[in-house]
Each structure stands twice: as C-alpha cells, then as structure tokens.
Amino acid sequence: MSDDTTNEETMSEQQSAEAFEVEENLEDAAGHRSYSQGTLIRRRFFRHRGAMVALTVLTLIVLMAFTSAGIGPIPGWWPKNFIDLYPNTGGPEPTLRLWPFRIGEHPFGKNTIGKDYFALVMEGTRKSVIIAFVVGIIATTIGTIIGAAAGYFRGIIESLLMRATDLVIIIPLLVLASVLGRMSNGNNVLLLALVLGVVVWTGMARLVRGEVLSLREREFVHAARAIGTSHWRIIFRHILPNAIGTIVVNATLLIASAILLETALSFLGFGVQSPQTSLGLLISDYQSALTTRPWLFWWPGVFILAIALCVNFIGDGLRDAFDPRQQMD
C-alpha cells in the first residue's frame, strides 16, 4: 500500500469515526422521509402485480354492474332492464363480438323467455357483490370482537365465547345458512346478507383469538397496562391495530367465500328468490340449458369465477404486503 492510499485510508477512517458520533441523528437512522407502517404496507401492496390486476378487474366489474342500471336518480347507460321481455329483436344468441368489436342488441344473448341477459347478469352481480361485502363486514366485526375479547380476557370469558364458537362450527354451515336464509325471506337481500354474516364469523374469531393471545404477552401491552390503560383501550389501540394484517387478509378471503356461499344457497333454492336475481340463482335456473343455450350458464359462471379469483388475489397481495418476510428469500 503506498503512502497516498494510507493517508486516504486514515482520512476516511476518521470520517467514519465522526459518522459514528452523529449516528444518533434521526436522518441517519432512516432516510429523510417518514414512513408509517401503513405507508410501507401500501407501497408493497401496490407493487404486487397480481393484486393490482385483480383490483383493477374487480373495480371494473363492480363499476360496470352498478353503473349499467344507474344508481338512485342517475340513469344507467344500459337501455334495457332485467324485467322486461324483448321477444322481437333477433335470435337468442349473444351478439357480443370481440373482433371486429361489436356489442350489438343483446351482448350476452337472451334467456328462454326473451329477457335481456346482460341486464340479468349485471343485476345478479350487483346482488352477489352487495351480499358478499355485507357478509364480509358483519362477519369480520363479530369475529374480531369475539376473538379479541376471548384472547385478551382469557378465563371464563374465553371458555364461554370459544365454546359458543365451537357450537356454531359443528352445525354444517350450509344447513344453518339455508334454514336462516329461508326464514329471512329471499326477497330482502340485505337481510339475507345479515343472516349469512351471523354464521360465517367463526373462522375469523379463532384466528383473531390466536393473534391476540400472542400480542397480549408483548411488552408494549405490559407497558400500557403498567401506565394504567383500560382494557378496551388496550384492545382497540394497542392490540387490534397490530392484528390488522390477519384481520384484513381474512376479511378478503371471507368475502370470496361469501360469494360462493350465496351462490350455493341460491343454487339450492334457499337464497335469493325470484323475481330478485343473483349469480347463483341464474346458474340454478339455467343449469339444464347448458346444451341448448350454453351462454345462460357460462356468463354468470364467468362472473362468479372472476370476482372470487380477484378477491382472493387481492387477499394474497395484502398478505404479502403485511408480512414481507414470506416472499423474500
């Protein structure tokens, strides 16, 4: 090593020693911008390609379904509705062509009695999506509160709540849902969603309980207790925000399974009743048309598949965003 480089070396060594002195500076610790955990998670989520594609597709489907018939006083862009018959406008086949692109009179064709099938499928999508999201919100709320209370308080409260959860779990979901669905009168979609929400929260409750059990032993919870913080403040301010990853990911998966549950119920005839419609009901109505008018079966099927897949992909992206260690090597 020549003298020059030795000099340089000692210079840089001195500099690094000075850098050591100022290490307690904040800018040194983490760049210049402040990132909350939420920001970091959002960044990771927006970088997840699959989830972003799914989010776009789902948004498009929901937008299409809700704007086509109009919302409240705003008229929709699709001239036909799902109740009237259109017997005199050509054959029943779908008029949608991708190349050259053409929507035509009845893009998804007509059903057996001449209703516009596009309008029917859109109506079915609206109902299915509403049910799915309402079920998701209700089940998440119930499951989170029950799971958090059971996990945090332990003892007799935990025993009572978790045995109640077990009680709901041991009854076959489809039987319970169909009985309750029948009682709720299939014409009221929101009531049906409420009823479904009341039976599917069990998985969420168990997961949240498990998460809370480990979080309640963390030191920041002890620190909060030592300060004199009340129980519910600890649960809502210290524990649940740290369990948000588990909760959000499971809520999305819950939504996906709610769509399928509604479909199954309607298919069995216990869910949405005519003249209301849903994707499941459409499939059930036209299951025998698979050979003669296959589009009556395929279109609602494709929409169910697309929505369930998208929601699952979003859940996947959220999980990776909340727990980046899983995807790293």
Binding site: S16, A17, A19, A29, S34, S36, R44, E219, P241, M328
Partner: protein, 577 residues
C-alpha cells in the same frame, strides 16, 4: 475421525479460514445496503480471532459467508476460503460437504439452534451420518463421547433426552459438541455466550479455550462483549460499518487502541470496580433519613400450574428504596428479579407479604386506586423494540400516559411531549416518527420519555440497557443518571450486569432462585462480598483487559477449586485421541 491433530502444531500451518477483500451488498426494498466493504481476515489453526463490532457492523454477515448461507438477495465479491476450498467456487453439493465437516457454527441461542422434537443424541449423530463419519451404534457411542468431552455429566442418559430437559448452559455445550462432531478445522462462534448468564458464560469460554489448545481448532469468535474478547482472543479485528478499522493482538487493540472508534468503544464499556461517575455525572447522594419510596417485606410470587403445586418464583423477599435512591437488583436468569419488578407494577399478583409503594399498600388497592398509584410509577422494559407499539408514532407513544390519565388538553400534551423529547436528548422532529425508524438507543430514549411523562416518584427499569450496543448503553446510562438527578425519582434498576449496576446504584440486592442472597451498599456487595454466590458472580464477570482478565480467570479457577468444582474443559480422552 479423518485426521488426528496434535497440539504441537498450534499456531502454525496453513490458515483454516480466510476472507479476501470480501464485499457484500444486499438488495432490499429501499435500494442496496452495503453490509461488508472489502475486508481481509485470516484465522490460523489453534487461534482465536475475535471479530468485534456493534449491531449492524456486518460481523455476522461476514461469518455467514464461510458456510455459504447468505440469502439470494446478497451480492458477494471477493473470496472466502475455508482450508483449501473457495466457497464461491463450490457447487451446492460441495458446500454441503463442507458445512459441519470442515467448518462448523456455534449459534447464539442454544434453544433455537437445537430442534426441540429430536433427541440430543440423534442431533449429534445426524451430522456424522451426513458426512460419512460414523453410522448407527458407532455414531451413537461417539455422540456420548462428545457429550462427555464437553463436560456433560450422565452423558448416556442425556443423549436420549430432549433439548427442553437441559439447562441453557448444557444446551450450549451440546451445540458445541455438535460443532465438534465431525472434527472441523474451524469453528465459527457467533455470539456464543450472549444468551447465557455470566457464570455459565465463564464455563463455556473455558471450554472453547480448551478446544483451540487441545484440538488445534481455529475459532472465529463474533461478539460485541469486550470482556469476552479479553478473555478469549489471540487476535482482534474491530469492525465498524462494514469495514475493519483496527486489528492486531488482543493486548494491542484492547490496551493500546489507535482508532478513535475502538477507543470510544472501549471507553463505553462499564468497568466493574470503577464505581459511580464512569459516564459523566454520578448520581446524587441520598440522605440517611429520606422517606421510603418502596418497602417490600416478605413478598412471595407464585405461578399457577395446571395439576401441580404452584411454582414459587419469588419467596420471602424484603428490601426498600428511599426516595431519590437507585437500588440495583442483580441476579441470573431464573432468579426471579424480573418477577419482582412485574409484581411491583401489579402486572402479576403477589401471593404473600406486604408491598408498600409510596406509602400505599399495593396488595390492598382496587380499581381506581390502582390507576392512581400507577400514575406515580414509571416503567422501562428490556427490549425497546418490543415495548413500543409499532403502530403508534413516537409523539402518541409518549403522550399515551397523559391521555390515559386525562391530563391537560391536546396542546399542553404536545408541549409536554416536546419537553420530554428535549429531556431525553431526542430532536423534536422525532414526534412524527415511528419506532421502527429509530435505532435501538433512540427507542430506549422514547421509553424513558414515556416513563417520565407523568413525573413518577418511582421508576422500575427492567434490564433497560441489555438489548443495546455497548456505546449506546453508555449514553443511555449517562442519560438515566442525569434524569435521575433532575427529576429525583427513586429507581429500582434490575440487571444481570454487575458492571452496569456498579456504575449507578447506591445499594445492591443480589437474588438467586427467588430469594435474596445478599444486600447492602454498593461498596459492601461489589467490593467485599460475603456470600459464595456473589463471589462467584463477581469472579465470572469478564473485564475488557486481557492481562487483568487472565489474572481474574486464574483467581476464578482457584475459587472453583476451593469450592471443590472442576474447570470446564474439553476432555480429549473421550475423543479417542
């Protein structure tokens, strides 16, 4: 047994481990991190080379390259050579052949390094069978020999036990036996004693030292503890931010440090016996007749066990703290010192005795009264990363106690938080930062600010510096002493580190197995201990001076001999050499 080594070749021959201009870059979410910046290091057979540095200096990353275990996000240039093999040129199969066979690793946490569902003996034989050293019965017998060699009594019985049935020190001996299973040329010991108590640490270090003397193994010792370095190392390399800033023999580096960073690092190490004022100001003296802030008499704490008698973690503990006084509570893991702290905070109930905090009987209070009392007690936990809610920004963390006790309005709370940030020497811009953006020392400062938000009369600090780097520890201790002088609170300082206690406590309480062994003023307990256990603790604590440490080591061995115990060392007869 591929080759038999003799002690005569110690310190000679080809290097067993070399790093040549090693440079490591990690790809992360926020761009590249240059972890290791071109370092050179050589380990010869029969030699202990200590790689010293604080967290984030790149020392563990450097050592991991020797096993080729870095994640795929790492880009490595330069060479790592183990014996005659260059790691970067090996195929995955060749790498596996080297791992455990030519280079072995001793990990920091013996509990996590052992598989809890596999018996000790099987874990030992696994490495031998993988590397075709021995099979079946032969391997099992060798496993038992290895256990005997590292000083585990009843080796036959231990071999068929599971890891949870062994104590921490035993487990670390098993990990060392595993590393020895295939007779490697070099052992990498990554913080091998950090998770252990001082007395156990001293035994493990004795054992490792005998390895290099008797088996001629080269050891790369990674540590942040200067006392361990002084005790073990032949040569030392100091690493800082990915570079080796100073290297030389242990005497050169520890006694005549040249680089400013090394000097600073050494100055920051608390010295047992140097007393108050090591880090600037000393705590103020306390008047003999100062009122009592805490009085504990005959306290017992029990943990309930399903189907068994409750376990008494703390039994018959009595001590007191006068206001404005710092009392150090010392003990090894399992001594019940943290349990005492938690019981005083009311986090776990006491089974018997009388606890009077600030004149109120803690065990009799209910509901609102407990909350009112908690206002007057501050608490600091060991790990600042765990004791701050990761979802709350620093400002909210510090103002939490004010909000809980409904003190002031939004503006006055913010004002108070700013004052507290000033008091703990954090910039006010930290207000909107999140805990994960701060370094360990900064986080612990936030903990202090939170604990002081309500101007407590009593502060309970449970190992507040043991998760921190030594230089950060020094600044945090200095801050604690300053704050104590300003705020005048009484403090119960729980720690396993006698040197830290020595630097700030007025009085010291020593605990073992849930009982108080010895208590008295700092001078009485630390300079003139009466009890055998306290003597052992003091003898086992290493000091960062190789010459003084050698003397202390011999004194400790003499003490052990006097007590009729053996010094831990490898028993080569058991290895059939």
């Amino acid at each position: 047994m591929t080759e038999v080594k003799t002690p005569e070749t110690a310190g000679t021959g080809e290097p067993v481990l070399q790093f040549q201009n090693l440079d490591i870059n990690f790809r992360t979410e926020f761009g590249h991190v240059h972890a290791v910046k071109g370092i050179d290091l050589v380990v010869n057979p029969g030699e202990v080379v200590a790689l010293v540095g604080e967290s984030g200096s790149g020392k563990s990353v450097t050592a991991t390259t020797a096993l080729g275990l870095l994640p795929r996000t790492a880009r490595i240039t330069g060479e790592t050579v183990v014996a005659d093999q260059t790691i970067s040129k090996l195929t995955p199969r060749g790498l596996r052949a080297i791992r455990g066979h030519r280079v072995a690793m001793v990990f920091q946490e013996p509990m996590t390094a052992l598989n809890p569902v596999i018996r000790i003996g099987e874990q030992l034989t696994e490495a031998m069978e993988v590397h075709n050293v021995a099979y079946g019965r032969v391997a099992w017998n060798r496993a038992i020999d290895l256990l005997k060699a590292v000083g585990i009594p009843n080796a036959e019985r231990r071999a068929s036990q599971y890891p949870h049935e062994l104590s921490g020190g035993m487990r670390q001996r098993v990990v060392i036996a595993m590393a020895l299973a295939c007779d490697p040329e070099v052992i990498i010991a990554d913080e091998p004693t950090t998770a252990l108590d001082v007395t156990v640490q001293a035994d493990i270090l004795d054992l490792l030292r005998s390895l290099k003397d008797k088996l001629n193994t080269g050891i790369l010792l990674i540590t942040h503890n200067m006392g361990v370095v002084a005790d073990m190392a032949d040569r030392v390399a100091v690493m800082f931010k990915g570079k080796i800033v100073e290297s030389g023999t242990a005497e050169e580096v520890l006694l005549h440090a040249k680089h400013p960073y090394t000097k600073k690092l050494l100055d920051a190490v608390p010295h047992l016996g140097s007393g108050h004022g090591q880090f600037g100001s000393a705590p103020a003296d306390v008047a003999e007749d100062a009122p009592l802030a805490l009085e504990v008499s005959d306290m017992a704490v029990e943990y309930k066990r399903a189907g068994k008698k409750p376990f008494r973690a703390v039994d018959g503990v009595s001590f007191d703290i006068r206001s404005g006084e710092i009392v150090g509570l010392v003990g090894e893991s399992g001594s019940g010192k943290s349990t005492v702290g938690r019981a005083l905070l009311g986090l776990i109930p006491s089974a018997a005795g009388k606890v009077s905090v600030l004149g109120e009987d803690l065990l009799r209070l209910r509901g609102k009264q407990v909350k009112a009392l908690r206002r007057r007690i501050g608490v600091i936990f060991q790990d600042p990363a765990a004791s701050l809610n990761p979802r709350l920004p620093v400002g909210d963390v510090i103002s939490e106690p004010l909000e809980v006790h409904k003190i002031g309005d939004k503006n006055s709370r913010q004002q108070k938080v700013h004052e507290l940030l000033d008091a703990v020497a954090l910039p006010r811009s930290a207000y909107n930062r999140y805990p994960h953006e701060l370094s360990g020392g900064q986080r612990q400062r936030v903990s202090f600010a939170r604990a002081l938000a309500l101007s407590p009369d009593l502060l309970i600090a449970d190992e507040p510096t043991s998760a921190l780097d030594v230089s950060v520890q020094a600044s945090v201790l200095a801050m604690l002493i300053e704050l104590q002088r300003d705020f005048g609170f009484a403090c119960l300082f729980i720690s396993h580190d006698l040197a830290v206690i020595d630097s700030l406590a007025h009085r010291v309480v020593v605990m073992q197995h849930g009982k108080i062994v010895e208590k008295g003023t700092r001078e009485e307990v630390l300079l003139n201990p009466q009890q055998e256990y306290t003597k052992r603790l003091l003898a086992a604590a290493p000091v960062p001076n190789p010459i003084e440490q050698r003397q202390r080591r011999e004194e400790r061995h003499a003490l052990l001999e006097f007590l009729g115990e053996e010094v831990a060392e490898i028993d080569t007869r058991e290895l059939g050499q």
